[in-house]
């Protein structure tokens, strides 16, 4: 049996320290909503026995700030979460403690002191794997053409109603490949605050333009994996 009170014996820090946690969210866990993920982490952080910093005031709570949103049904290798601790604990220790409380599909990959702000995230890189009945090199070429052609739009729903968004303007680059019966698309999409585009938007646009992925979801399906968060140059990984 463990006892989380050990945290009370660690030396206090002069200032609360913000640590950045990079974790994956794959497999079954792609179906967990953002709200559910928040609740999950609030408990994971506690049961990992981390020396968390609590806000002062009437209703003390721990501080958690997540990076980019990720739609339900997309997977990721680069989810980011900032947490705050008030006592000394090494990043390796924090990582090990967190992973004891998580399943592999939500494993923590890295923990480090946060330096850059999330606002520096400008693009995100996604890999799409498309399984569809008529998959062949010609279809891959057609998809490539659609993506390169420009003029793609998506409707974005918000509180103020629906609006048309120029999707092509949010695509930095794409690459399409046909391999072993599957179609792969690698795309870098806008992810900056206010310009974030959901990776699902690309699927929606392709569905409208080419008719793929409109049939029986058990025969035609796709997987979206977010690989990296990128800085404004579209190359350097955000940390």
């Amino acid at each position: 049996m463990k006892n989380n009170d050990v945290k009370f014996t660690l030396p206090m820090l002069a200032e609360p320290r913000t640590l950045r946690v990079r974790f994956r969210k794959v497999g079954n866990l792609q179906y967990i909503s953002h709200l559910d993920l928040q609740r999950t982490f609030s408990r994971v952080l506690v049961r990992a026995g981390l020396p968390l910093w609590y806000t002062k005031g009437f209703n003390p709570h721990i501080k958690m700030v997540f990076g980019m949103p990720l739609p339900v049904g997309s997977e990721s290798e680069c989810e980011l979460l900032d947490i705050r601790i008030e006592r000394e604990m090494s990043c390796e220790e924090v990582k090990a403690r967190l992973n004891r409380e998580l399943t592999d599909e939500l494993a923590v990959l890295e923990v480090y002191p946060a330096t850059e702000k999330f606002t520096a995230i400008t693009f995100a890189e996604y890999e799409y794997t498309i399984v569809t009945t008529g998959a062949n090199a010609a279809l891959a070429a057609q998809i490539d053409e659609v993506l390169q052609g420009g003029g793609l739009t998506v409707t974005k729903k918000s509180k103020s109603g629906e609006k048309e968004v120029d999707l092509s303007a949010h695509i930095l680059s794409t690459e399409v490949r046909f391999q072993e019966g599957l179609i792969f698309v690698c795309a870098k999409l806008s992810a900056a605050e206010g310009k974030y585009i959901s990776p699902e938007a690309l699927i929606t646009a392709l569905r409208a333009k080419t008719g793929i992925l409109s049939g029986d979801p058990t025969k035609e399906h796709y997987r979206i994996l977010r690989r990296r968060a990128l800085l404004a140059d579209g190359k350097t990984e955000f940390r």
């Binding site: 049996m1 463990k2 006892n3 989380n4 009170d5 009370f8 497999g27 079954n28 866990l29 792609q30 179906y31 967990i32 909503s33 559910d36 993920l37 609740r39 999950t40 609030s42 408990r43 994971v44 952080l45 506690v46 049961r47 990992a48 026995g49 609590y54 003390p60 339900v72 049904g73 409380e101 998580l102 399943t103 599909e105 029986d216 979801p217 058990t218 399906h221």
Partner: protein
């Protein structure tokens, strides 16, 4: 999770209910185990995951290395539709394997209105609905939980029932299954017979003949074999300190209805409210010691990270070690920012200082259940609450800054008169009055008193088991009458749907003949009847009519004291004589002291028990 299911998940609402992969979910190597148990909660994931009993039994079955127990929930209607379109049978949560491939499928039956969902789950699993139509390759279907105390209405669909507390008995049942398979002696019939004959609390309906009188009442329920018990006695865990305790908890990602630590403090109830089935079937009272509880709570906190601990039991104030337990808990919950809540805490039983440190006390409302509007009727139902108690409680609450009071009542109780109904409105008005009399009340605020009124349902194994339920017309009339009597604008009045209560009464007191109606209901697509949006009263009436069932025969008929009751085949520990005595006292408006004041000889002490107040039981503080 196989790819087919995973791809459907992108097309349904709240896919997180189906995806699994929770921390704490038990995954075992299929080759290393000997029996697979599918434990089904016949409602949504969010509701099922809030059920403490399911968590306990899941843990207890999985603590045996030979058994792998998985969870099954009822998929929501959008998912059911996809499963039909894409030809996907219902799967178990952990492995994603079809439920039909399991050895044993268990259903926990928490409320009667889940019966149609049970049948839907069987159908989606492609398991024959009728026990008589299942073959050697089909799983054994077992039911348990409070509704299993009258298993007769659903007897046609179950191979067997486990009556009482299943922590140990389900493991034993599964072990027998494994043993018979290993020894090559297994056939469905042989296994069920041996289980009925050798394992306590196992009831196999097919091993009993039920005969009826011409008027439709039961003539006799007779075992077909000598070695099958005439009456099946429920199982209990005698010593709650030694009861299986699930240290490792499955942590749902999707928010469960009760998403917190639920600490079971004791089983049973010392009060004997005459309408309350839970207060009777869980007898005798058996407490856990505060030392054990504190350890268990700490362990659960360390293993879950929940920010709230809720002490659960039928009436938490009756726990004899409540003060020491609360003190010990607060010692570590406070520094860890964990809040402690004690639902249904009676304010008079607790020191003010401790009260103020307990979270539930800090919320803005107080709930109280007088159940009836006059002292006379409260005496009839043996609800030992006086108006002074209520007023004292609301005053403490008002002084503490609360303004909302919620009061629970019941319409249609035996002997109820217009005066009793009016008494509900009066009581609510008096609470409002009390607010304005209280000098320490929150300044500048006005009180809100809500009265929530349900309908009396006569339940098996209560002193009121023989009573007739009011007809729908009467219940509605009473509800309207009360509506007219509530004139105070600070009083809000809500009531249950009498139509649901009526069907519930039919299912609660039914016999095996109801099976035909339930089968027809299943064929006509009934499901989720516990959900208002799916409950359709007229369809129920039509189904009853076409299966030759008169609902009034089960709900609105005064049953004879000498009549063989459908549930007489079950022994819940409390004797029929006690229920009869209590019924008489009810009609004389005489109260019965609680079990701690004086034993009233209900018979439940026959079952044993440690840390109980029953005569002959282990001493209360024996450790």
């Amino acid at each position: 999770m196989n790819e087919k299911i995973s791809s459907i998940l992108k097309t349904v609402e709240k896919p997180g209910r189906y995806s699994g992969g929770e921390y704490g979910a038990v995954i075992k190597d299929k080759k290393a185990i000997k029996a697979r148990f599918a434990f089904c909660f016949p409602d949504t994931y969010e509701i099922g995951m809030s059920n403490l009993g399911m968590r306990i039994l899941y843990g207890s079955l999985n603590s045996d290395p030979d058994i792998w127990c998985e969870r099954v929930f009822a998929p929501w209607v959008d998912m059911q539709e996809k499963m039909r379109s894409y030809d996907v049978p219902l799967w178990a949560h952990e492995s994603g394997d079809p439920v039909a491939e399991f050895d044993i499928v268990g259903f926990t039956l928490q409320y009667e209105m889940c019966y149609t969902t049970v049948l839907r789950v069987l159908e989606l699993s492609r398991i024959p609905l009728l026990a008589a139509e299942r073959g050697e390759e089909d799983p054994i279907i077992i039911g348990g939980g409070p509704c299993a105390y009258n298993p007769e209405p659903i007897a046609d669909f179950f191979d067997c029932f486990s009556i009482g507390e299943g922590e140990d008995n389900l493991v034993e049942f599964t072990k027998l299954y494994i043993r018979m398979k290993e020894e090559g002696r297994y056939t469905r019939a042989a296994f069920l017979h041996e289980a009925a004959a050798t394992i306590k609390g196992i009831y196999v309906p097919s091993l009993y003949d039920v005969t009826y009188h011409e008027d439709g009442t039961v003539a006799a329920i007779t075992p077909k074999f000598e070695d099958v018990p005439k009456q099946v006695q429920k199982c209990i865990i005698e010593d709650m300190d030694r009861a299986f305790f699930p240290e490792n908890v499955v942590m749902p990602y999707v928010e469960a209805v009760h998403d917190r630590i639920m600490l079971e403090v004791y089983r049973g109830c010392i009060r004997g409210c005459r309408f309350c089935q839970a207060g009777m079937i869980y007898r005798p009272v058996r407490e856990k010691s505060h030392e054990v509880l504190n350890k268990q709570a700490r362990c659960l906190y360390d293993n879950t990270g929940y920010e709230e601990i809720s002490l659960t039991s039928l009436s938490i104030s009756d726990y004899t070690e409540l003060e020491p337990l609360t003190r010990e808990l607060l010692e570590w919950t406070d520094p860890n920012m964990v809040s402690l809540s004690l639902p249904s805490l009676r304010v008079d039983s607790f020191s003010r200082e401790l009260m103020e440190r307990i979270a539930s006390v800090r919320t803005s409302s107080l709930t109280f259940a007088p159940e009836a509007g006059t002292q006379r009727l409260r005496d009839v139902i043996n609800k030992n609450v006086r108006e002074e108690d209520l007023m004292r409680a609301v005053n403490v609450a008002f002084s503490g800054g609360k303004t909302n009071v919620k009061l629970y009542f019941m319409n249609g109780l035996p002997t109820e008169t217009a005066e009793d109904i009016e008494g509900i409105a009066t009581l609510a008005k008096n609470v409002v009055h009390e607010f304005y009399q209280n000098k320490e009340r929150p300044k500048g605020r006005s009180p809100q008193v809500t009265i929530s009124v349900s309908c009396f349902i006569p339940k098996p194994f209560t002193p009121f088991q023989w009573e007739a339920q009011d007809t729908m017309e009467m219940l509605r009339e009473k509800q309207e009458y009360l509506g007219e009597k509530v004139t105070d604008r600070k009083v809000r009045y809500t009531h249950h749907d009498a139509r649901v209560s009526h069907i519930e009464a039919v299912l609660a007191r039914g016999n095996r003949r109801l099976g035909a109606a339930l089968l027809l209901a299943a064929k006509e697509g009934f499901c989720f009847d516990a959900w208002d949006e799916f409950f359709d009263y007229d369809k129920w009436l039509s189904v009853f009519e076409r299966s030759g069932i008169d609902p009034a025969f089960f709900a609105n008929r005064q049953m004879g004291l000498d009549e063989v009751l459908p549930w007489d085949v079950i022994d819940c520990g409390v004797s029929k004589e006690f229920f009869k005595r209590e019924r008489e006292r009810a009609y004389a408006a005489a109260t019965t002291p609680n079990c701690r004041e004086k034993c009233s000889g209900c018979g439940a002490n026959r079952l044993g028990g440690a840390r109980t107040c029953c005569p002959g039981g282990g001493a209360r503080n024996e450790k």
